[in-house]
Amino acid sequence: MSAVPLLKQLKPLTGGVFINSHKSVTAETAYQFIPTPPQLIYHLHNKYLQYLPKVVVGEQIQAQQVIATALTETQAVSSNLHAALSGQVIEITQQRIIIAVSSEPDLSPQNYAFDDYKPALLDHETSSHNLLEREQAALQKIRQAGIIGLGGAGFPSASKLNRHLHTLVVNGVECEPYITADAALMVAEPGNILLGVIELLKIYPQLNSIYIAIEDNKPQSIKAIQTALAQLSLKTQYAQCVHKIQLTAIKTVYPAGGERQLIEQLTGRALKIRQPASDIGIACLNIASIAAIGQALAFGRPLTHRVVTLTGNALTQPGNYYLPIGTSFGVALTAAGLNSQKLHQVINGGGLMGQAVDMNKLDSIGVEATTHCIIAATATEFAKPNERPCIQCDACVPVCPEHLLPQKLFQTNDYSLACIECRACEVVCPSYIPLVDYFTAAKQQDRTQFIKQQRAEQAKKRYDARKQRLAQIARKQAAVAVTIQQSTAIKPNQSKQPTLRQLKTQVNKSKNLLRQAQAAYLQLQKNQASTAESLQQAQHRVETSQFKVDQAEQALSKASQAK
């Protein structure tokens, strides 16, 4: 087999740092399994989505059942949360849903070997209308399967796909230290990754180049994908797909795997500030997301499990584990042989961008879809040296992949929206300044200020509107009083008689009110948590609005008869 082809236009990343990857402990081994966790904890917030629970406390649920949904502004489903295992819901709060598990875990999806192939689906001569329908159906499937960016960002995957794509980048460049989850997935399930690629090709036949990018320090993963590709190319039906796929080895440097950096390296096109890649016809998806998309489109399997790297010196059996989403950190780490005497700090994420979690809450934090690595660190593993003043040595300038001037931003207490928060500048800083912390704090401050300003403007608008409304009402009342005075002088009885039209609107209004009251009452009845007092109040509201409707209807009928 030939070596991995290096693309000609591949230009090395400007900036970046070479760091000890700490990956040798868990590197490129196939993933392992853990015993069934007693509880599953699903968090209802992530960076982009807010989920609403779809189950109630005490409900028995099956594996793969939808337990919460995130809605877009147009009330369409943007993502679902699925129970990984069957069990009973025991707690629902604003933050999370907890499920007591009663079943055995199901095993991982088998590596797809492309034996049972359906040629009809790859037919390129389907009409464009048909294609459009198929695309919409597929995107709906991806949303309902709850697939979000599994590389850590958690951006809903379906939002990255549209009909104007010409390039698909499959991101297997796990550049952050400690993380090997994607490499384990590539070694164990290369077929599933290719299945995802081919499923996407079915709905987007116009994709003309597909890059599978892997860092060149992962020879096993490259070999696994290469073997799978070679097997796939033996099947003649797939020949036209396979020649579009380019397996690419990326030079190992942090952060070569960032979306913007990877696209720049592969295609030579730099994204503008905060510009989504789909703007220039490129979709960049994590390798685990692609595998999940393949499972969802081919078999309708939702995203319920993921590979997580459990590592750090406080673990006796570090490795890559196939965890049900919702497994608590405590259970996962215990399964990997946690030595609690050595444990000093638990980090959710990689060695650079990861965040230290509260040590007292380990059992109440669940693995989310975006959790790719948990580090159980000893006291010496992550040094926290004292911060010193900036000496403007400019070490951070050449390593910034976005060509910013971190030291100037730090000096002026500023931030840049172009900063991808990769922390390469912190790695090289001789004064140990947590630069990105300062940038995010400045950003946060600005954002809070912006929100406050927005709220003040909203309040002012509301106040102005209210003032106008009150003035209008006062004016109307004054006008009415004048007309009454005038009319009483001439025609005493007719002014109080409402017109037929007014009566009709009155009826409609009261009916609307009645409907609202009934809906509220029904909802309260459904919700078991509601008290008897609130129920009674709602009932009273229904009755009074019913009475008002009757009155209005009577008045209307009288008036129409009189006419």
């Binding site: 740092v17 917030h45 730099a270 510009q275 994420g349 990861g354 230290a356 004292n386 900036c390 912190e426």
Partner: protein
């Protein structure tokens, strides 16, 4: 209008200790080791100075270094800031050492004392401590001493005879007799060795010393000084140890070149005009004041503006 929710922090994040800090593996230097390595690179030059001028060299250097640390501590005490962490980055000590090297070996002891105090108090802490000073502290203190005590500051001994040298009788007058300049040349060569070691250690960028030498050569050619004067005075010492101060030099590559060419050129020009012991201090202070402007001129455009 869409309602904007207030940003809520994730509840399970350890707020006191939010981010994992990377351990020291990737760094090839940090602040204390940088300062120590620069101090170590001074040693060959100091030894050669000691050979020619005697034990007074060591006394001046240690004296100035000691008083620089004392001055730093005094201001930190007044500012109610921790003293030990600030002293342990050795930046005050280095400023004192650099000043001590510039002082004549036979100068009175209180000169080093005043100089050290001025360097750390006036040159550095007055502006807010390490990283905030616009001018090189050692050169600022040197200039203040030179203008305040011109006689005491120019009592260099003749390395050959041991007799007092006149202020004006700089080695520039002896350029025509080959071999007579060996004391000055050897000192500068020793500093050159230290400086090259620093470049090899990636502690100072090559652009600054190279620019200083090139700028110096260009202006000497224009004003008609002999080229050999580049090896005299404080050229190598200044080019490798003073101009390369990260705090007071510009940040971007182009700005660094411009800054260094300016320093070299101004030094040569001042030497051709006046018989000051060295124009280098004036040149560096003048260019220090221009460094922020150079930075602004050559600010790189972030990639997203391309």
């Amino acid at each position: 209008m869409k309602k904007i929710p207030l940003v809520e922090l994730e509840p399970h994040i350890d707020l006191d200790n939010r981010h994992a800090r990377w351990s020291n593996e990737a760094k090839h230097f940090n602040v204390p080791t940088t300062m120590l390595k620069v101090s170590m690179a001074l040693i060959p030059g100091i030894i050669v100075l000691w050979y020619w001028y005697g034990n007074g060299v060591w006394l001046q250097i240690l004296n100035a270094g000691f008083w620089a640390c004392i001055g730093e501590s005094i201001v930190l005490k007044i500012r109610q800031q921790p003293i030990i962490p600030a002293l342990s980055d050795y930046s005050a000590l280095l400023a004192g050492l650099l000043l001590g090297i510039c002082l004549p070996a036979q100068a009175p002891w209180w000169l080093g004392c005043w100089g050290g105090l001025t360097a750390s108090m006036l040159g550095k802490q007055l502006f807010g401590g390490l990283g905030q000073n616009p001018f090189n502290p050692a050169m600022l203190a040197y200039l203040i001493l030179l203008l305040g005590f011109p006689i005491e500051m120019t009592v260099w001994l003749d390395p050959y005879s041991g007799a007092d040298m006149q202020t004006a009788a700089t080695p520039l007058d002896r350029l025509n007799t080959p071999g007579a300049l060996w004391p000055w040349v050897s000192v500068q060569l020793a500093f050159l060795i230290g400086g090259l070691w620093l470049i090899q250690q990636k502690i100072i960028p090559y652009a600054l010393p190279a620019g200083v030498v090139i700028g110096f050569l260009i202006i000497t050619a224009l004003v008609g000084l002999p080229f050999t004067s580049v090896i005299l005075g404080a050229s190598c010492f200044g080019a490798f140890f003073i101009a390369t101060d990260p705090v007071t030099s510009p940040n971007t590559q182009a700005a660094k070149w411009l800054f260094a060419l300016g320093v070299g050129g101004l030094t040569a020009y001042i030497r051709s005009l006046e018989h000051f012991p060295d124009g280098f201090a004036f040149a560096i202070i003048l260019m220090n004041s221009l460094a922020p402007w150079f930075d602004q001129l050559f600010q790189p455009k972030p990639s997203h503006f391309k």
